[in-house]
């Protein structure tokens, strides 16, 4: 298989996020016969983003399985495979279509280990592209993390950089329990970066401090991490020192990194694309309020999408729904000045 890259060195390659997913899946398929990929259009079509292009030719239709448009079946079959010793990687074509499989994910996969008293585990990865900003309208723009966030027994990962995509996808594949692997589709080809060669993992549940700062901690994940970083770097010119944390894993949450940062800066801004009410930011704020109230010098602030049913198709509506480096910089300024 030829992974398209623009630059290649002995120890790393420059890739975008799509290429990082593709390369990681390919290596996994090569190295472990137990790995099965199943989902809509993953075989002959090679996935709608061409992530699994030609995989079916090399690994055959028994390992690269085209399924009907039936998400409950995709996950349900994968749960069975996982319980019986295979390592399935189920794909939900767009996160917006994950709802039919909700029972299989929440009711079955997440509870397998508990229900069987440890006799069975469910080493299942569910990959799905999520997020907006691509004129995807109401059925190709959704963020689903908060819907699954509440569920013990489920891990949720949302990497923003190609190197993290590879390290966390490997960790998800190795994990003995189900992992929901969220890929922000706007970052797919937008974000490029160096990806180390060879097999490596990044621990699930470990955030990454992308930029150190002293006046404000910003926690985000996915596409918005890149914008938050852009905003924070722009504010450096005005003497504002903003720390940017890429959560990378949504659950388990890296409490230590967040709390250490808040202890230093005393102010916390949480930015996510998902809407505000009951979102990831709500849990982070509650955690910080419980653990670090006496370090806070300002009310915690959440910069999130409005509580509307979906992201509109119209450019103006999408623009209104989405944040931007400018909106983020404004919030950062206000919080530093507070």
């Amino acid at each position: 298989m030829a992974v398209t890259t623009s630059k290649m060195t002995a120890s790393s390659q420059t890739m975008n996020n799509v290429e990082a997913v593709r390369a990681t899946l390919y290596e996994a398929l090569k190295n472990d016969d137990r790995i099965i990929i199943l989902g809509e259009d993953v075989g002959a079509r090679g996935n709608v983003f061409l992530i699994t292009k030609d995989f079916i030719d090399e690994f055959g239709p028994q390992r690269i399985i085209d399924t009907p448009i039936a998400e409950a079946s995709i996950v349900g079959i994968a749960v069975g495979m996982a319980m019986e010793g295979l390592r399935p990687i189920a794909e939900i074509q767009f996160a917006d279509f994950i709802y039919p499989s909700f029972n299989q994910i929440v009711g079955e996969a997440a509870k397998t280990r508990y229900r069987s008293n440890g006799e069975y585990t469910c080493p299942l990865v569910i990959r799905t592209p999520y997020g907006g900003g691509v004129r995807g309208a109401l059925s190709h723009s959704v963020s689903v993390e908060a819907l699954f966030y509440h569920v013990p027994g489920l891990k949720i990962v949302a990497p923003a950089f190609p190197a993290d995509v590879k390290g966390l996808l490997n960790a998800a594949i190795d994990d003995p329990d189900p992992v929901l692997f969220l890929e922000h589709k706007k970052t797919y080809r937008l974000i490029k970066g160096e990806v180390p060669s060879g097999h490596y993992t990044i621990p699930i549940g470990k955030a990454n401090v992308l930029k150190e700062g002293t006046q404000l901690s910003v926690v985000s994940y996915g596409l918005y991490v890149h914008w938050a970083l852009e905003a924070a770097r722009a504010l450096e010119g005005d003497g504002l020192s903003v720390e940017v944390i890429d959560l990378r894993s949504i659950r388990p949450m890296d409490r230590t990194t967040i709390l250490n940062s808040v202890e230093k800066t005393r102010k916390l801004l949480i930015i996510h694309e998902d809407n505000k009410f009951g979102g990831i930011g709500a849990e982070i704020s509650a955690m910080v309020a419980e653990e670090a109230l006496f370090n806070l010098d300002a009310p915690i602030r959440r910069l999130c999408a409005p509580d509307v049913p979906a992201m509109g198709y119209a450019e103006t509506l999408e623009h209104e729904f989405m944040s931007s480096p400018e909106k983020m910089a404004k919030a950062m300024r206000e919080m530093v000045a507070f």
């Binding site: 003497g239 005393r266 109230l293 006496f294 370090n295 806070l296 010098d297 300002a298 206000e334 000045a337 507070f338």
Partner: protein, 427 residues
């Protein structure tokens, strides 16, 4: 209602004050804004105006006693409710520095603790104090109500509390002098003016501040040094000629200092980097040229400032320096006299020093000295040997701001300017 007046903070690093003299006696009437007590600190003497009109009911501190800023010193019984804005105004000295408000601290009435109403502004400060501010204030024993907030709408921020804690080290804000005196050294104490071997000299506030400032400067600014030798024969002659006229006209002695400051100012204009300040945000190249003049007193070192020295002639500089030295010796320097310096000149050659390595003052980029003027045989152009008035000038520079290239350029320029001054003309 009774208003408790607290010891004001007369300067940014001043943490205690001495009641020099009560200008009113208990039972006497005081008008709002009328001076009713004279307070002295290590650097400043000031008359403190009354925050409200009323009857001076009780003096809580005796004359000569030193207490921490914020300590209640008197109670004024006013006929009507004091307006809070007036209180804050009344307690502000002639400076923009934060001054702890005349907050109504708990007053003693009939031997019982009673909480008097607190002014609205300071109550706001307390109400808007974040959990972090409350925690830090508790840790550093700082009253949030006495702080000047820099946050949104004047909110006191955690950073404000930390800054206040730094300027009042070791909880000095609540430690009064008597507490320190309570633990005398076993072999007794003596004073700085009359040090006795085998004794410990208690640290005065001035000594503490000097120690703190010097340590801070030496630790934060990497010092480097450079020295030039200046032929001051011509400017010396010029000074000799102008001396008596200047003294008659202006009432001060004419030293080499104003000539030197004039040359320094011109060199600073040519080398703006020397008139700068290092911060983590960048090097602030300063617009104003305010020259600090280091003045050594028997038990103190003080650096009053000639503001906008670049706008002054040699004569005007001579007057300004004369005034400041005079005020320093009489302990009459005010807060304004000490603030805003951008570069310092240290005339330490009076006692014969020919070389020194001074510590940079107040976060500036450098300090330059005038060493002793001595007559020496000098080889001139054309290999003639002549007796000339020579003076060394030593520059300490903050190597974060300046490199040797700029520093030596500055010194060479200063030397050239000094050597081309005089011997003719009027100052």
């Amino acid at each position: 209602m009774p208003t408790t007046v607290t010891m004001p903070q007369l300067g940014e690093t001043v943490t205690e004050g001495t009641v020099a003299q009560w200008l009113k006696k208990p039972g006497e009437n005081v008008e709002k804004y009328e001076p009713f007590v004279e307070v002295s600190t290590d650097k400043v003497n000031a008359e403190v105006p009354a925050p409200v009109s009323g009857v001076l009911r009780e003096l809580l501190v005796k004359e000569g006693e030193t207490v921490a800023t914020g300590t209640p010193i008197a109670i004024i019984e006013s006929a009507e409710a004091a307006d809070s804005a007036g209180k804050v105004e009344a307690n502000r000295m002639a400076s923009d520095e934060p001054v702890p408000g005349m907050t109504n601290a708990p007053t003693r009435t009939n031997g019982q603790a009673a909480r008097a109403p607190v002014s609205a502004a300071s109550e706001d400060a307390l109400r808007s104090a974040s959990p972090a501010v409350r925690k830090l204030a508790r840790e550093h024993q700082i009253d949030v109500r006495t702080l000047h907030g820099t946050g949104e709408g004047g909110r006191v921020t955690a950073q404000d509390v930390l800054a206040a804690a730094q300027t009042s080290p070791a909880g000095a804000a609540v430690t009064s002098v008597p507490a320190r005196k309570a633990a005398p050294s076993p072999s007794g104490a003596s004073t700085y003016d009359a040090p006795t071997p085998g004794t410990v000299i208690p640290l005065t506030q001035a000594r503490r501040i000097i120690a703190q400032r010097m340590l801070e400067s030496k630790q934060s600014a990497p010092h480097a040094w450079s020295t030039v030798e200046i032929d001051v024969t011509n400017v010396w002659k010029w000074r000799e000629r102008e001396k008596s006229r200047f003294e008659q006209e202006c009432g001060y002695k004419l030293t080499l200092l104003p000539f030197f400051i004039r040359a320094v100012v011109q060199s600073l204009q040519k080398f703006p980097l020397v008139n700068a300040r290092f911060t983590n945000d960048g090097i602030h190249v300063l617009k104003d040229i305010n020259i600090g003049v280091a003045i050594g007193l028997p038990s103190n070192l003080i650096v009053p400032v000639i503001r906008n020295a670049d706008r002054l002639t040699i004569k005007a500089l001579g007057i300004a320096a004369g005034e400041l030295i005079d005020k320093a010796r009489k302990n009459k320097l005010g807060v304004d006299d000490l603030a805003g310096g951008t570069f310092t000149v240290n005339n330490n050659g009076a006692n014969g020093s020919i070389l020194s390595a001074p510590i940079i003052n107040g976060g500036q980029a450098g300090i330059v000295t005038m060493e002793a003027v001595v007559k020496r045989p000098v080889v001139l152009d054309g290999d003639a040997i002549a007796i000339r008035h020579m003076m060394n000038s030593c520059l300490s520079l903050d190597h974060r701001v300046l490199d040797g290239y700029t520093a030596s350029g500055f010194l060479a320029d200063l030397k050239r300017r000094m050597e081309s001054m005089g011997p003719d003309g009027t100052i």
